[in-house]
Every structure is written in C-alpha cells, then in structure tokens.
Symmetry: C2
Subunit: 263 residues, 2 copies
Amino acid sequence: VSGEFRRIAIVGRGLIGRSIELALAARGSAAAVVALDRADDLAGVRGADLIVLSAPVTENLRLLEAIRGFLLPSTLVTDTGSTKAAMAAAAAGVRFVGGHPIAGSSQGGAAAARPDLFVGRDWIVTPTASTPADDVARVSAFAATLGARVLPLDPAEHDRIFALVSHLPQIVVSALMHVVGRDAGAAGLALAGPGLRDSTRLAASPPGIWRDVLATNHAAIAPAIDRLIAELERLRDDVDGEALTRIFDSAAAWKRTLDERPL
Amino acid sequence: VSGEFRRIAIVGRGLIGRSIELALAARGSAAAVVALDRADDLAGVRGADLIVLSAPVTENLRLLEAIRGFLLPSTLVTDTGSTKAAMAAAAAGVRFVGGHPIAGSSQGGAAAARPDLFVGRDWIVTPTASTPADDVARVSAFAATLGARVLPLDPAEHDRIFALVSHLPQIVVSALMHVVGRDAGAAGLALAGPGLRDSTRLAASPPGIWRDVLATNHAAIAPAIDRLIAELERLRDDVDGEALTRIFDSAAAWKRTLDERPL
C-alpha cells in the first residue's frame, strides 16, 4: 500500500526515522526514499508526496515551519513524536495527520534501528475532526505497511492518556530516584532490596526527550501530577490505614489489569 | 555460635519465622526450638533464652507486652520487623536488640520459607546507645549463624534510610498505579509500554504489612513524601526545562550508583 506514495521524505535519522528507512527497504517499497538529517538542507523534501518528521517534538514543530515553503497542496505530512496536540495545532494550513509509533525507547538512538521495529507494535494516528478521511487512510496504510497495528485517537485524548501511562510514570520515577539517592546517599542505597531497582529502571532516561514532552504536553501532565500529589498527601495524612488500604487495593487491581495484556 | 542459646522461641510463623526454624534445623543447631503461632498460648516462650518476634510490627508490639510476664532477667528478645524505632521504644525494661533481615518479600508467606533465605543477605541489628555490647554480639552471632551478613545501625537511622529506599518507593508506586489505572482505565493501560509495567511491580503488594510500616514509621515517611512532593511540584511548574534537566540528571547518576551494587 505504501506504493501509493511515489516519493517519501524522512526528516530525522534517530531510532524511529532510521527504522522507517530500513523497514521500507526490507519490505521492497517501490517509493523513492529521501532521508534527511534535521540539519540538512530541507529543500530535499521537495517533490515528496509523504513527508515524515521523525525528530523530537519541539524540533518537529520547527521543521514543520521550515518546510512550509516546499509543500504542494497534495503533499501529506505526518510525524512520529511523543505528544500530538501541539503538533496538530501547529499544522494548521498543512495537509497533516499526526502519528505515534509505540516502539523502541528514547534511549535507543539510530544505532538501535531495525527494519522490524514496528512489527506487531501499536502505531497511533491522530486525525482531528477536520482531517480528510482519505488522508487518515493513507497515513494508516503507510504505518500498516511497516508492520504496525494502527489505532486512531484524537490528539488531545492521546496526550491525556500518554500523560498517564507514560509521562507521569517517567517523571515520578526520576523524581523518586533523585530524592532517594540525594537523601539516602550511596550507603543507604547499598541497603535497598530488588524492589527499588525494579521500580527505577526508567530513572536512567536522559532528560532530552522528556523536556520536549513536558514542554508540549504540560496541559495534561500538570493535572496528572496534581492528582498523584493528592493521593500522596492522603497517604501521608493517613492515621488509621483507611486510605492506604483503599489505594493499595486499587493499585493491586489495576496492576493485574495492566499485566494481563501480553506485551 | 547459636549453640550459645540453649532454648530459642520463635513467635510468628510467616516467611521469616518459618525460615529461621528451617535454617536452624538445616544448620544442625543444638538449641531446642519452640515455634509458636502468634495466636498460640504465649506461655510457651517460658524458659527460652532467646525469643524472636517474627510477626508484623504492630503485632510484635502487642506480643512484646504479652510476653513480659514470662521473661527472666537473662532472657534476650529480638524481632524481625520492618521498622525499628517504635519497637526499640516499646522495649524499655526488656533485654532487647532489634533486627531486620533484608530477605524475601512481604508476599512470600510461610509457603515460601526456605532454610537458605538469609544466606548472603543483610540482617540489620539495631542496638540503642544503652544496649549492652554483649547482647548485641549474641543477637549478631545468631543472625550470622543463619548465613546472614550482619550490619549494625541505630534504630532511628534504620527507619530514616528504609523510609527512603523501601517505604517511599512502595507508597509512590502504589499511588502511581492507582492514579494511572483510575484515570486511564483499562483501554488506556492497553496502550502502555513496558516502562509502566516494570515501574509498577511493587503495586501488587497487599496493604497489610504496609499499613504497619506507615503506622510505625510515620515520623520518617511523612517528610520523605513531602520532599518528593516538592520535587514533583518543581517538575509541574518547570517552564524552561531547567528543573527537569537537573532532576533527571541527578536521578540517572543515582540510578547508576544503585545498579553498580550486585544484588
């Protein structure tokens, strides 16, 4: 189906951008593929009928402005960033359908790129109410060609859900590791059991992409942080164990729901 | 060295109490061992020269009062609970040295008991400034006989460190899973990547033992929660990514320190 696109330009050559290149090549796509580093001359996107912006979100926002002069009315633009509402708003006047492949980690980098990175993984496409159905279908078909399972979601709903299942956990784990390390020190950490180690795997994440995520999804992340703080205050002020029992029972039930789904 | 004790009474037959029984038997201890359920007639501790209280902390506090009438001046009492200051305070007038074996999980239960549960694991002993050195040595030798590595720590310092490396992570992970599940629902959880699953392993913990921990270590846990909340508020209010960069860099560095230690 990606054969529908005659010329595809990919801007950004990290894990996602490079894996798209490799996947197109491995699947014998007939499309001509132009892969640009975000620092390259963006005139290279001229003539593409699909442009994929695969840099971090704030960089994609800049790239979108930089390529406007090269777009034809028929040129379709998509992106692969971690937050969707800011990009959708910035794309006014552009033929645009956002996307978010749930694949790999922010730490992978181009060296971890693989042609099968998207196989069997979710790829969320985020049309707005005014996106033409045909454009949604074409971007969805492109993602499906790479092996992904395509799920449509409103950009704001995407950002609300990912604020909860991805952004909040990352922020909380980094804040936890920072406080525990700072206040317990290396001697205290030496007494930790495996629970702390398991809980803090995400604390190894570098700040780069998460600065982007917080900057472009603050509207959903800030209230999620506030709702977590409210529960932490309930636990802090719990005098009879009532709040703790309720919150722990709820957590254990949701944990079962989370783990029931095969990864 | 445990041969020094002629008669050992263990009260509480969960994972820790049962594993102590099994370890004593496996190591050919010459001591007579009396193992009591916490619901049994506590007169069974009469004549023991070491009594090990191996129930949850609030239950140990109750047991300590219940056995006072059976203690001789020579009877040494220890415990294996997760918090140490409350027990140390309650033990005034008793010949007591607290202990905390860092082994197994609160979910293990008696069925998971093993004679080698303590081998190579830390067993913290928590004398106060007024504990006779000989009593500390005897309880330490008992733990070492079971295969553990013995570490002395002041009860308040124990509770401060474990509030950070154990209690705070448990509370935060349960609160996180509760909020994420409640607000994202099963459909939202279905979009989560492996990061959320890894981060929330502790969310399966049942509330029982943690009610005890919060009730008996509130003085250390409440300010630790407050310091975490302060960092979460900094991240929530971060406008330029400065706080996020600082906290994430600190977290990644402490995560490396944590992971450097072999488990």
